[in-house]
């Protein structure tokens, strides 16, 4: 069930690359292209309404504030949250850090009584998984270092699936946080959110979901998933660079101390001390990425307009075409589940290793054919180490990806072994 061809909406997709070749853009997992409505929303903001939000008493400030808060509502709707549960952040990485540093700050005595529930220290545990992007791993390592808590992780098997056999001992009464990705940016595997959340709830651990690769590609409802926090990035959701968002349950957000301190986030400031506003304001210190919020709101509306269930169906099919295609090429190894039955939990991505050819070299041959893919470890070194490779070549899709794009990828990969004389 493919979507109609939406490339018309995306100005960049008409450009040509090496030697005038048409562009086949298969690097949406790194960053997506932007529809015209997003670019227009930003530009119109700058040309008609640009002003500091929330504080001004003039017309432009009122208009800017209305657009800014409206965008918050649009992003909230896309994921089933309340407006006030959406905090703007520079990117998904910053969103995860906001939670981790907030817990660190609570543990260091910042935030008073209401923050006490977040305090962690030696003897406490934080649990992640082996499939995490560095963005949802390194902040927790740092929190462990800072507080003396212990970091544990759920391992994955050689197809990249989380091994839940020891879940009950890995997530136990000492576990305070369980952080995991919704969709892997390397294998495209959809995580068993239900089982993980249930276990976290049973032991009273906070759940932090990395929604970077799910929110842009499938329907996500934070209330149905029953998670506590979720990070997302606009630039992967057809939105602008420079902005992302954190979803957090309101009562948690109102108690978590901030980790970026400054104007706008505060209630009363004396030279000696400061009290903070409620969420989301307490986390939005300094002038916010206002035009980008407006753009992210427009992107959320665009995605909702296409329909996230249709987006999901589209991306499953594109993934299937790419994965089935490369799996047949001798000397090419598909990372993650292989075979149509196993692949049913996979969306939007095909990462491969070509025997005897380094991913950089694979990428170079594809680039020469006008095909843009990502090479390297995709910020998931532990997972690649598990697969026994330092890097891979990843093709990733979005709403504008066509069957022809997927087929072009497969055809170009087939030329690689011969080019490097390895078959």
């Amino acid at each position: 069930m493919l979507l109609p061809d939406l490339r018309e909406d995306f100005p960049l997709l008409t450009r040509t690359v090496r030697n005038g070749k048409p562009l086949v853009y298969l690097d949406s997992g790194a960053t997506a292209q932007k529809p015209r409505v997003v670019l227009d929303a930003e530009r119109e903001f700058y040309e008609q309404h640009n002003a500091a939000v929330q504080r001004g008493a003039h017309l432009l400030a009122e208009e800017a504030t209305e657009l800014f808060e409206g965008a918050r509502g649009d992003v909230a709707s896309l994921v089933g949250a309340q407006s006030q549960e959406i905090v703007w952040a520079e990117n998904a990485t910053a969103a995860v850090n906001l939670v981790a540093s907030g817990i660190g700050n609570a543990s260091a005595g910042i935030g008073g009584d209401e923050a006490a529930r977040f305090k962690i220290g030696p003897g406490d545990e934080i649990c992640v998984t082996e499939t995490e992007h560095h963005a949802n791993l390194v902040p927790w390592q740092a929190l462990a270092t800072r507080t003396g808590a212990t970091l544990r992780w759920i391992p994955v098997d050689d197809q990249g699936r989380m091994i839940l056999d020891d879940l009950d001992s890995l997530v136990n009464e000492r576990t305070r946080v369980l952080a995991f990705t919704h969709v892997s940016n390397v294998t495209g595997l959809i995580s068993p959110v239900g089982a993980l959340v249930a276990r976290a709830k049973a032991v009273g651990a906070l759940t932090v979901l990395d929604g970077c690769q799910s929110v842009p590609h499938l329907p996500v409802d934070v209330k149905a998933l029953d998670i506590d926090f979720m990070a997302m990035s606009a630039h992967k959701m057809l939105g602008p660079t420079g902005i992302g968002a954190l979803y957090g349950r309101k009562e948690l957000l109102d108690a978590l101390p901030p980790s970026i301190f400054g104007g706008g986030a505060v209630k009363v400031v004396t030279m000696e001390e400061t009290s903070w506003q409620e969420a989301p304001m307490r986390f939005e210190a300094g002038s916010q990425p206002v035009a980008q919020a407006v753009g992210m709101g427009a992107a959320a509306r665009y995605l909702a307009g296409v329909g996230m269930d249709r987006v999901e169906a589209h991306e499953r099919e594109i993934a299937a075409v790419m994965r089935a295609g490369v799996a047949e090429i001798p000397g090419v190894r598909l990372l993650g589940p292989v075979g149509s039955a196993d692949a049913r939990d996979v969306i939007g991505v095909a990462s491969i290793a070509v025997d005897g050819v380094h991913p950089h070299d694979v990428g170079q041959v594809l680039d020469d054919a006008g095909i843009a893919v990502r090479v390297g470890h995709h910020c998931a070194q532990p997972l690649h180490r598990k697969f026994g490779v330092t890097g891979s070549t990843r093709a990733s899709a979005h709403v504008y990806t066509t069957r022809e794009d997927a087929e072009a990828f497969v055809a170009a990969v087939a030329t690689v072994p011969a080019f490097f004389g390895v078959n």
Binding site: Q54, R55, G56, A57, A61, E62, T65, E66, V266, K267, V268, Q277, M281
Partner: protein, 153 residues
Amino acid sequence: MSSLEQMYQQVIMDHAKQAHGKGLVDLNLIQVGESHQVNTTCGDEIRLRVGLEDDRVESVTWEGQGCSISQASVSVLHELVEGTTLSEAEATMEAFRDLMQAKGEALDDDREDLLGDATAFVGVGKYPARIKCAMLGWMAFKDAMIQARKDEA
């Protein structure tokens, strides 16, 4: 009448100059609630105290500084709700909130009657940034009522 004049109607100017209910009163009642609210835009603060007895709002007093809209609004609030029943106070509060969200349009007659002098605030609804000012006292009132009722239990 320009929008500016519609906003700063004489009633509002008068209340701002001569505010009612200003000065916290010590209350010898069982159900007393107090709330402190800050308008984070400008740093204005209001502390408001309510005393309930049986089913009535016996006393509403406050102290604080602010712009003419916030001062007039809390002054009118005092006039409107002191001495009413709890349910009348709630209805008034709701009507005022609706007025603020009406973008400068008048409410229906029933609710206009409830609001009395407070209908003069109709023009504020056109200025989203000032709605916060007009609501400051009412937020404090709402919160103080919750505090006061807690004492019930």
